[in-house]
Subunit: 377 residues, 2 copies
């Protein structure tokens, strides 16, 4: 049997004030197209469907359409848990009313202990247990056991589930947590501060497969069957070289058989472009991916007037500019003395940039006089 | 066949900073208990399930529990539309995934034109059409017809539905609007200003029954089968004498047969108590309903120190005090001259109230002197 493991959709996310909803819709369309051509037994979403507990209505509508396509048109069940970005109670509204249609939202501890059962020819009955994202405090309160951190919480939750195992079935765990030693990206919201969010993978060993969410880079930790699918798409420039998509998991009668990353590419990639302004603009004119979302690192050493406007004439979706070639703010002040670049020098740069010509001797004298006058006051 | 028509639950509503959720839960428990003893073919909710488009999670959980009790335990379908307080898209999430379980949330114009069909022995097939609450602008945009007000909008929506009638079936309309000539309460939020929200009942004549929501007083308008069930419970003191509950509707093979108001009483009633402080306190000591939510109108003519504390010693849930016996603010200033009540008179009142004794001659002289001194500056 095969199922798709995905996580961290963050529907409704904004990135540098740009809505990513159209890109998210395009990637989900690709996911649905894949499922139509390559039928699977289930679609598992390991948390962070939405970017926040009260998502924008457009994100809710997008998710509602996705659910209809997958559950109703493809007749494929969806099994999902809330992540730390989702609001469990909001997401869990009327969850029991949706199960007949194949939408399984496991949003509380009762749901956690009642697996979604899927019958398959190749692997017999497969039980999907979903562990909704929970603060340690919530686990302590519900199970009346000492819980000091996420590791304790996940140990207890896993034990509760394992106690309900049946030998006759394969058991899958869906969880949203930070497995110790796994690799972070810049776009995840920390679960807690100072490392107390780390969970040992050893709690998860008894399962046939563990579908993890939270970390945005696809990876496995400890065992090949304890995996992060990674996020649906890139959510920070630091992820520019990460492959995004979903994990295609295969089980047989013996349990875990294989896990394969299937790539999904968003219409706008997120990437970093580095160089001097002029060379970037020349390159941009023939760049077939000029509509990507860009972070531009300008290496020019001199001041530039309106670099954003200039860059956007060839790369319309430049979202952010860094100028490692120029020091700014306090550093700039300190550097100024060091480099002995006076206001007059900076004005000469500015004039060259704005007028595409150097100051004449007369102009230079005039501006030098004015600046001197201002500085003596 | 019988069904329950209810509306305007406003789950999550606050009243004078008090949460009404426990009262709402108690009333819904009574509704479910009624349905368990007196089975019906459907529960119809004509809008304003929640008090706002992003309801508190506790309200969502209460609604989720209600749905489970009615749809799953009693196997009774629920048919509901969003009202002007609800967020249609939020409420409509995964609506198609809920229909198999019997939860029908009709939140857009496509849903409106696809009736929920219920087969009954007594009345044959009954079609429930739900008209989600919509601004005139939305109707204009969707149906590409001139729509200047709510009346136009409801005429067009009703025509669209009537065009889909089948002779073989009874047709029920669910709508959330203000039928012209019906009686308002203080707790409804106006749909628009200046009377442009009024809708003629004549658009609704072709239906066998029209289950209306929005107005909080149970009533019918135009025809006995065009009815408001009224709100689940009282939501303003102006509703103190209104009967609250739901409407039990009966249909037979000829269509509408009867509509009957069934009363539900909240644990805390909302009512107004009027009188002088002393008499109210005496009465309160033996009032069996002393825990009700009260507006107290104090008829005393003199100033009273801490009336709220005094009243709450017998009526713990006094939420608001009015003092028609004493004029306040600007009116007080004007009245002061008229009544020739000086600061000294008012201080005498205050002292009597605070010390339970009159000023002595010496005290009176002292305070009169101070006030005179202050007034001359």
């Amino acid at each position: 049997m095969k199922f798709i493991h995905t996580s961290d959709w963050h529907l409704g996310r904004q990135f540098h004030n740009v809505s990513l909803l159209d890109d998210q819709k395009a990637v989900l369309d690709d996911l649905v197209a894949y499922m139509a051509e390559n039928p699977v037994d289930a679609l598992v979403i390991a948390g962070d469907v939405y970017d926040r507990s009260v998502p924008p209505t457009a994100a809710i509508e997008l998710m509602s359409q996705l659910v209809e396509k997958v559950c109703n048109k493809l007749s494929t069940p969806i099994i999902l848990i809330p992540g730390n970005h989702d609001g469990a109670q909001r997401l869990g509204f009327a969850a029991k009313q949706m199960t007949d249609s194949g939408l399984h939202i496991l949003s509380n501890f009762d749901d956690m202990l009642t697996p979604v059962m899927i019958k398959t020819e190749q692997a017999g009955e497969v039980a999907f247990f979903g562990m909704p994202y929970s603060d340690p405090e919530l686990v302590r309160h519900h199970f009346k056991q000492p819980v000091k951190d996420h590791d304790d919480a996940h140990r207890i939750l896993a034990e509760e589930i394992v106690a309900r195992f049946s030998n006759k079935q394969r058991s899958i765990l869906i969880s949203h947590c930070f497995v110790d030693g796994a690799i972070e990206s810049e776009s995840e919201r920390p679960l807690s501060i100072g490392g107390s969010d780390r969970v040992s993978h050893s709690h998860f060993l008894p399962f046939d497969y563990v579908a993890l969410g939270h970390l945005h880079q696809p990876q496995y930790k400890g065992e090949e069957y304890i995996r992060y699918s990674g996020s649906l798409m890139k959510y920070s420039f630091s992820e520019q070289h990460q492959k995004k998509g979903f994990t295609l998991v295969e089980l047989d009668a013996n349990g875990f058989k294989s896990a394969q990353h299937v790539e999904l590419v968003a219409p706008h990639e997120m990437r970093i472009v580095e160089g001097e302004l002029d060379e970037i603009i020349v390159k941009g004119k023939t760049d077939p991916k000029s509509h990507d979302y860009l972070l531009v690192r300008l290496l020019d050493k001199h001041a530039i007037l309106n670099p954003m406007d200039k860059l956007r004439s060839v790369y319309p979706n430049v979202l952010h500019i860094e100028k490692p070639g120029m020091l700014v703010g306090v550093e700039q002040q300190m550097a100024k003395a060091k480099l002995a670049r006076s206001e007059v020098d900076m004005f000469r740069d500015f004039f060259l940039e704005a007028q595409d010509a150097s100051l004449s001797a007369e102009q230079d004298e005039a501006i030098s006089g004015i600046i001197k006058q201002l500085n003596t006051h």
